[in-house]
């Protein structure tokens, strides 16, 4: 399964000794047309690179340095950071464990993640006790990776570790929520920055995906038209309007129509955003999972029937594992899309990382730094989403997707 690296000839050697059809870089000067196009595009590329580098070195990056803290956590008080850090430590350890167990990160993934940590350290340096926390996260990730790789030799230890890892992944979000609200916690209006984007996306994914499983099952349930119609109607109506419309509904309509049990109708805007994002994500994810369910050959169900498995047994052991395996790429794409969509929450006055940036470049001191701020925020998003898709590609390769 692991790719064996092909020895690459030098460019000069490839030009001199002809080309292989599969190797496009060897065709740079194949014919006259190739040569002309290569030269023109090389000049264009160099011009673009020079312009970008020029801009980068002349840009005013001071605003990023000054606003590090808001970019990260918004107005979250410094003496309350202990509510956030443990979750990030566990996240680091889990990342190490999971990559050791399932991923076998390649060079590119490792570079991307290292770059991410470099950016993180740039952001966090000089903040209270951050250096220690950062070192701890790195150490935990490394330790997790080493433990997972060592465990590959013994199947029983490996299965124990993978069970613990999965359970911890599932429990991470509830744990963070408890930490964020236990005792004399800062109100959610203090939440902000990339922390809000990550929290909203994580909760929508963790809570929304089980809901999506039920919705997709309901939509493909034979013999229960009432359930099928209800699920289909929910999915199609939610998918019918853009997220912005649903966010406005969460802001302006939800307070009216929620009952007053447990003060639900007075829930603050972060909670309402969470509800909207969970349901929105559930509807889209349900369609993705349904695609996977439909891709399962009928013989699988017949085999399960002949083994005497019941409906839920078949689900747990036969259909859901195969469905999830088949749709993993689209599932990750959906989650990436959701993470990008969390930038829209600013419209209902949640101060996410993009809104922090917008507020920063609208300040008088930082006039004219809009592009710097936007490029920086864009880079953060790109880093997270690109590593997500790199990880998913890695997991796919390890599961042998597309090669059977």
């Amino acid at each position: 399964m692991a790719e064996t690296p092909q020895p690459r000839a030098s460019l000069l050697a490839r030009i001199q000794h002809g080309y292989r059809e599969s190797d496009a870089s060897a065709q740079l000067f194949k014919t006259k047309t190739h040569t002309v196009i290569t030269i023109i595009s090389a000049i264009t590329a160099i011009w673009v690179l020079v312009t970008l580098t020029n801009w980068m070195f002349n840009a005013e990056w001071q605003v990023i340095l000054d606003k590090r803290r808001p970019f990260l956590v918004g107005k979250f008080p410094a003496d309350q950071m202990w509510r956030i850090w443990p979750g990030v430590w566990i996240f680091g350890a889990l990342l190490g464990l999971s990559s050791g167990l399932w991923m076998r990160p390649g060079k590119n993934t490792a570079i991307t993640i290292a770059a991410g940590i470099a950016i993180l350290s740039f952001l966090l340096v000089e903040l209270d006790s951050t250096a220690i926390n950062l070192a701890l996260i790195l150490l935990l990730a490394l330790a997790g990776y080493v433990v997972a790789v060592r465990a590959q030799d013994s199947p029983s230890v490996r299965s124990l570790i993978s069970r613990v890892t999965v359970a911890t992944w599932v429990l991470l979000i509830p744990f963070m929520i408890i930490l964020l609200f236990v005792g004399d916690a800062p109100p959610t209006s203090y939440w902000g920055g990339i922390f809000v984007n990550v929290m909203l996306a994580a909760i929508a994914i963790v809570v929304g995906t089980p809901v999506a499983v039920f919705l997709s099952l309901g939509r493909s349930l034979d013999g229960y038209p009432a359930i099928r119609i209800a699920s289909t109607a929910f999915i199609e109506v939610v998918r019918g309007a853009p997220l912005i419309a649903w966010l406005f509904m969460g802001r302006f309509v939800l307070p009216f129509i929620l009952p007053s049990w447990f003060g639900m109708n007075e829930a603050d805007v972060i909670f309402r955003t969470m509800i909207v994002l969970i349901l929105f994500n559930a509807a889209y994810t349900a369609e993705v999972i349904r695609g996977g369910l439909q891709a399962i050959p009928k013989g699988q169900y017949e085999a399960a029937d002949s083994l005497g498995l019941g409906y839920f047994q078949t689900l747990r052991a036969i259909s859901l594992p195969q469905a999830f395996r088949a749709v993993l790429p689209s599932l990750i794409n959906q989650y990436i899309g959701l993470f990008k969509d969390t930038t829209l929450v600013y419209l209902i006055s949640v101060v996410d990382v993009l809104e922090v940036g917008r507020k920063a470049f609208n300040e008088l001191d930082y006039t004219g730094t809009a592009l710097e701020v936007l490029v920086f925020v864009g880079f953060i998003f790109w880093l997270v989403t690109f590593s997500m898709s790199a990880i998913s590609r890695r997991v796919e390769a390890n599961m042998g997707l597309g090669s059977r």
């Binding site: 019918g240 853009p242 912005i244 129509i257």
Partner: protein, 411 residues
């Protein structure tokens, strides 16, 4: 006990009980909602609830009191009704969506083919394009383009006038005027008998299509080139020009100019022509680039899904790279492309709602403003939902019939 178990496993009873429970739950939730909503009248601000029921659409007939800019064809002002304002917003959304669909499809096709290109640098450039643009939130890209448009355009007092000249002779003065109020280009002005001209044009179109079918048949029988495209085109455009002259110019064109108003002409704005605002431009460029990155992946996937023998056979026939692409690869790839493309178009239409972030007056902008003025958020939200559902329905039915056509005829 065993009776009970066998009762539960008789599928008829089980289905009835489970579905009955689900229906009951839905009905209860619905009743609770209605109860909740009908109680709102009491807690709602007295300004809105004096003796009118909470759920009503009457308020949509009232004067809107808002001016939607970016108007084209329907230009409403603040005295029109709220419903008109919402429909005008919807029209802006549709206009944006149509322009975006064309732009993003062409760009996506180009990038998708470019990623499979023989030319190494072009291939790499297209890959970088896709990996960068689809991983950055659309809202952020809109901000970036809006900032860029704002930075590079001059204020309207120093607007750049671009003339079209030919060997030193001015053909069209003020062909394009660029400033931070937008891009002004010449546009059509309606004169008398425009409707008749459209009718004649339609008749000419039908006739030329009939002629084309006849010529096609002849060509199938006789072979050779019978001018199946040339003669119908001649008929159609000839008839259009003749009708234009005969009806005495049913429409004319007009270039834009800058009009001053206010004290000492301090307020300048465009007059005449068509104005493409900076917001519109920023959204089209940003969302077009963003969606093109997704469309290019669809294009690439569909081309890669074709058996390699197709390309090899085309090469063996001696077709050039361009001929291979347009005659062999794309027509076949189109079949697998259309369904996901339709999804992408619907997504993009919904994504245009992000345009409110920079103040483009689309349907969300209109509904939100009216909801702020008049309350009734539930009714307005329902209207918005229905409008978006309609748009999605139209797009998917167009794509479905296109799909049907392609599957049937194979182009």
């Amino acid at each position: 006990m065993s009776n009970l178990v066998s009762f539960w496993y008789r599928s008829f009873y089980r289905r009835t009980i489970i579905q009955g429970a689900v229906i009951l739950l839905v009905v209860l939730v619905g009743l609770a909602l209605i109860e909740q909503v009908s109680n709102i009248e009491n807690v709602h601000s007295p300004r809105f609830s004096s003796s009118i029921p909470f759920i009503t659409f009457d308020f949509l007939d009232a004067r809107a009191g808002i001016d939607l800019s970016h108007g084209l064809i329907f230009d409403i002002d603040s005295n029109d009704s709220r419903m008109d304002a919402i429909l005008n917003g919807a029209w802006n959304t549709i206009r944006l969506a149509v322009v975006l669909i064309v732009f993003a499809s062409l760009l996506g096709l180009l990038i998708g083919v470019g990623r499979l290109s023989d030319f190494y640098l072009i291939q790499k450039a297209c890959t970088i394009y896709v990996e960068v643009l689809r991983n950055i939130p659309a809202l952020l890209q809109i901000y970036i383009w809006y900032t860029v448009v704002w930075f590079i355009t001059p204020p309207i007092a120093e607007a750049a006038h671009i003339n079209i000249s030919f060997f030193g002779a001015n053909i069209l003065t003020d062909a394009v005027i660029v400033s931070n109020k937008g891009l002004a280009i010449p546009w059509f002005v309606r004169e008398s008998q425009l409707g008749l001209w459209f009718l004649l044009g339609f008749i000419a179109l039908v006739i030329s299509l009939i002629v084309r079918r006849f010529l096609q048949k002849r060509q199938d029988e006789l072979g050779g080139n019978q001018g199946t495209n040339r003669y119908p085109a001649l008929i159609f455009f000839g008839a259009l020009i003749l009708a234009y002259v005969g009806l005495g110019a049913p429409f004319t064109t007009e270039t834009s100019s800058i009009v001053s108003s206010g004290a000492a002409g301090a307020i300048k704005n465009y007059g005449g022509g068509m104005v493409i605002t900076g917001e519109f431009l920023a959204i089209v460029v940003a969302l077009g680039f963003y969606t093109a990155s997704f469309i290019s992946e669809i294009v690439r996937g569909s081309i890669l899904a074709l058996p390699a023998g197709q390309t090899e056979a085309a090469k063996a026939l001696g077709l050039s790279a361009y001929q291979r692409l347009t005659l062999i690869i794309l027509p076949q790839a189109l079949r697998t492309m259309i369904p996901p493309l339709g999804n992408q178009y619907i997504n993009m239409t919904k994504n245009t709602s992000i345009a409110v972030a920079i103040g483009f007056s689309d349907v969300v902008f209109a509904t939100r403003t009216i909801s702020n003025n008049a309350g009734h958020s539930l009714e307005i939200f329902t209207t918005l939902l229905v409008l978006y559902l309609l748009m999605a329905l139209v797009i998917s039915s167009i794509m479905n019939s296109l799909n049907w056509y392609v599957q049937r005829s194979g182009i």
